[in-house]
Symmetry: C2
């Protein structure tokens, strides 16, 4: 089977955006009561995905998508913890309901109610609620809740450890994914996302986080940012710094997705990164929509690139399925319970 | 001939570092007189390069290097303009003297006395001094003088236009190069440099800077950061934003160097970027020193990768020589005067 480990609910019914607007408006009027989201019917949820993510997934030969709230909408730069909690809860609840409506095609991954350098207790509580009560299989972790100002400590800092303890305990990985950029120097989709992937990978090269948390697993999206293209740079830097070779050091803990939108990029990724550390993904409907006029192929139809990258059948099985089941053991349990 | 467009004076005599220390110490004691740099003899300058950059350049078959002060040492985050002026002047003067001692092998590129969001008049004055009086052929422009806090406007903002007018007027390009990171989230060599390359490229995709400054040219170092690896992403984003195809839009104004330290990376670069937009470079002795134990080849021996990338003889001539002479017309004039 083919598992797409990186999809976002970018087509949620308009009640979600209206709720967010009401939330943000209220922050300017502290006396106002907290808004509630208008009800969304199951039919509206079905309609929001059947002709979008689900249709495209099936047309391209995919079976199941790891589905999380829209990344650019997480907006962790909003500093009020209670607003962040209610926003993550509403966003996650919709994703949860989609996964219940289409249990064969969507497994849920949660947004965390992070705030810039805020306390992590609310983050941990929402993770426990989603995984423990609702059957989520993973989470998205934002290394820069400030939205492009990078005011948080590196992911190797003890600030994050309480969260990691719970992730290990629950057996869920995190996709390292920033949200919208509030910094005009960084375009959200064309710079901030890729910079975050690159920066976090280097943070992990510098320190020995996984010696302390051997069961902690991160998926670095967008093909690992700049990392595979500069694989020699990272190997050379690690050696110069007296650090172990990244391929060995991070083998059991760090994985790249295949959200790289042209054949030469996916060729490079599969050439330099071990197939055991690559998870198939498209991030559709996401950053880059439409068709390359030069090839007639949709930019984010990454399955075509992966199929064309010259991997063996065994490697393809790892990239398409077995790596994801290993990195997300709760997904494996769900699928096993379905007889898949 | 083979021109390496990206080398830094990372081996300057110790008087330069001592001067910097004295400069920084003085900032804590405002009453103290400005320090002067201890004299450096021509012999000391010769010795500082003959067994380092010059030796490696010649051993690897290179003829000439565009030589600028150490990038991580520019330290534009220090906010005092007079300190920045004296520091750039001292650094540039040494590079200038090296270029006079070895005119066949080094052409000078200057550091600019930038400060975070500071006025550009001192920057322009130093550019005019270096190019007009000392024969420099280009400059390094830092898009983030804050050193990892990214407080400056994008390079497409009018803030920068007075500098661009002078660059056009003088006929010199800029290599877009940040300095040390002061942000623990960004490792200087493993994240900040690459993020800057990626971010600036996207800034240039978003706006029409070269419609206003058709003669302005930027070299994006380190193989363009994450850009060539994500070439499909940039083409797709540009199309979605109603912007022209980056390859067309930036053809006459934006160039990538070849500082990518493994064969698959250089293969990708030369596959997706037109040979007319690639300039040979190694950045030695720079970020990544030493030999890959898997191949026995020095990481930054990029000539081997470029030779192995399957380019035609005509394309190789462009990458090794003619593109650099076109992008740096003052270099071309220098070489022509030398009969080369």
């Amino acid at each position: 089977m083919i598992i797409d480990c990186h999809g976002h609910y970018t087509t949620a019914p308009p009640q979600l955006a209206a709720f967010r607007e009401a939330q943000l408006a209220r922050l300017d009027e502290p006396g106002r009561a907290a808004p509630a989201m208008a009800p969304v019917t199951d039919d509206a949820l079905r309609e929001s995905v059947v002709n979008h993510q689900l249709k495209v997934l099936r047309e391209r030969g995919g079976d199941l998508m790891l589905f999380s709230p829209k990344a650019s909408g997480m907006e962790h730069h909003v500093t009020d913890p209670e607003t962040a909690r209610a926003w993550a809860e509403a966003s996650n609840d919709l994703v949860h309901r989609v996964s219940l409506l289409f249990p064969e095609h969507f497994a849920a991954v949660c947004q965390l109610p992070q705030t810039p350098n805020g306390p992590l207790d609310g983050v941990i509580a929402e993770l426990r609620r989603c995984v423990g009560e609702l059957g989520f299989v993973g989470c998205n972790l934002n290394p820069d809740p400030s939205g492009g100002h990078w005011t948080s400590p590196p992911l190797t800092d003890p600030y994050w450890f309480p969260l990691y303890e719970v992730m290990e305990d629950l057996g869920v990985p995190a996709m390292v994914h920033v949200s919208s950029s509030c910094n005009p120097a960084f375009h959200t989709l064309g710079a901030h996302y890729l910079n975050a992937d690159t920066s976090v990978f280097m943070q992990l090269v510098q320190a020995d986080l996984f010696g302390r948390f051997p069961g902690l697993r991160f998926v670095v999206p967008h093909g690992g940012g700049a990392v595979p293209y500069h694989w020699g740079r990272y190997r050379g830097l690690a050696m110069r710094m007296g650090r172990p070779d990244p391929a060995e050091h991070l083998r059991n803990n760090v994985f790249f997705d295949t959200c790289v939108y042209h054949q030469p990029g996916v060729d490079l990724l599969t050439q330099v990164v071990d197939a055991g550390n690559i998870l198939f993904a498209s991030e559709m409907l996401g950053a880059v929509r439409g068709v390359d006029p030069a090839t007639g192929i949709a930019w984010d139809d990454t399955k075509g690139y992966v199929d064309g990258a010259g991997l063996t059948a065994e490697q393809l099985a790892m990239v398409y399925e077995t790596n994801a089941r290993r990195v997300y053991p709760r997904l494996d349990a769900l699928l096993t319970a379905q007889g898949r």
